[in-house]
């Protein structure tokens, strides 16, 4: 009796299979359709959009980082170049100023030499002319003296 009751030999029982089965199958198929429309599709769309967004944002960020790194390297190179060229300019300027200084010194030396030479020549010529004058004068005076002496005699 118990087993008959449980196995559903008559009305009822645990294993009483009837039209509930196909109806439940239809219900589950309908539920699949409904859940697909109201749950799986919309939520999937949102989640996948977000995944795409995160993915593209990450890719963009990576690209930007790469760009920034490239720019940094560029700038560093530029800075190095600028520093080098500045140093070159400074060295050149130093050399130029030294040259100028040397030139100026040389010029001044030459000038002073020239003027000294000129002065010496002038002095020499004046001395000579003075000596000549003196000689002429002394000769004249000598002559005069001789003349006077002669005259006095």
């Amino acid at each position: 009796m118990t087993s008959l009751f449980l196995l559903g030999a008559s009305e009822g029982g645990l294993f009483d299979i009837d039209a509930t089965l196909p109806l439940m199958a239809v219900q589950v198929v309908l539920l699949t359709y409904v859940l697909n429309k109201i749950f799986f599709q919309p939520v999937g769309r949102v989640v996948e959009e977000r995944e795409d967004f995160v993915f593209t944002s990450r890719a963009e960020a990576k690209k930007k980082i790469a760009e920034v790194e490239k720019l940094e390297v560029d700038l560093k190179n530029q800075l190095l170049e600028a520093r080098q060229s500045a140093q070159a300019v400074i060295a050149e300027a130093e050399k130029d100023s030294e040259n100028l200084y040397k030139e100026a010194i040389a010029l001044a030396n030459a000038e002073s030499n020239a003027s000294r030479e000129k002065a010496r020549l002038e002095i020499d010529s004046q001395k000579e002319s003075a000596l000549r004058q003196l000689k002429a004068d002394s000769e004249l005076i000598g002559d005069l003296i001789v003349e006077r002496l002669m005259a006095a005699k």
Partner: protein, 241 residues
């Protein structure tokens, strides 16, 4: 219907009694449909509320729904494979959600408060009709998945490593739905019975850990059913080389 004396204490459990509805010449188990409609109504209402206003920064119920979606996607993707999991995700997810909601609804909602003329309300999955319906749907789906993906080459699967496998593979087509339906049915019914018997014998404290165990089993059974369904579909669409 008369009960033998030793069954009298258990008569209140009303094992194997149903509330019959007559549709034409067909009989259906009314209590299964009442509980499933209430639980599915709650599930659909929850989903509708949660998906009403979806944003890129999820808030509230949307978080939970997205977690569920992600969980189901991972389940479908690992079992079925990257290529066709999208087509089967709604079915696998519906199986999971339906079984999960039925199992937990069966244990968490105090159905005993509602008296029926015959039978009692409980988890829809504790009825063999429901579990056989689900298992047969799984069988149909894996046949459909295999045939639609590989055409007649699907039947290569039956002789795949060697033709010796043919009888076993054919046998499998029968044991798969059988094991699926009976595993779910047995677990949920056993859980309900154990709780009912314990409540009947010791109405205080003692049934509570068993109820928690029941919730655990229920969740695991939903996961097992969905995973196996996905695995069978994945097996059917897998390409042999």
């Amino acid at each position: 219907m008369g009960f033998p004396p030793f069954l009298i204490p258990f008569a209140e459990l009303e094992v194997g009694q149903h509330l019959y509805w007559q549709i034409g010449s067909l009989k259906i188990h009314g209590q299964v449909f009442i509980t499933s409609w209430i639980l599915l109504g709650a599930l659909i209402a929850f989903v509708v509320v949660g998906t009403k206003k979806m944003e890129r920064d999820p808030k509230g119920i949307q978080n939970l729904l997205e977690f569920l979606w992600d969980y189901i996607r991972d389940l479908a993707r690992t079992q079925i494979g990257e290529k066709v999991y999208r087509d089967w995700m709604p079915f696998i997810g519906t199986l999971f959600l339906f079984i999960f909601v039925s199992n937990w609804g069966g244990s968490l909602v105090p159905w005993r408060l509602i008296r029926l003329p015959s039978g009692e309300l409980g988890a829809p999955t504790a009825d063999i009709n429901t579990t056989i319906a689900l298992a047969l749907l799984v069988s149909l789906s894996y046949f459909y998945a295999g045939l639609s993906n590989k055409g007649l080459r699907y039947f290569e699967y039956y002789v795949h490593p060697t033709p010796i496998m043919l009888p076993f593979k054919i046998l499998e087509d029968f044991t798969k739905p059988l094991s699926l339906s009976f595993r779910l049915f047995g677990n949920i019914l056993a859980d309900e019975l154990v709780v009912a018997v314990l409540v009947f014998l010791v109405p205080l404290v003692l049934p509570i850990p068993v109820m928690f165990l029941g919730l655990f089993t229920s969740a695991i059974q939903a996961l097992i059913f969905a995973t196996l369904a996905a695995y069978y579909i994945g097996e059917a669409v897998e390409e042999h080389h």
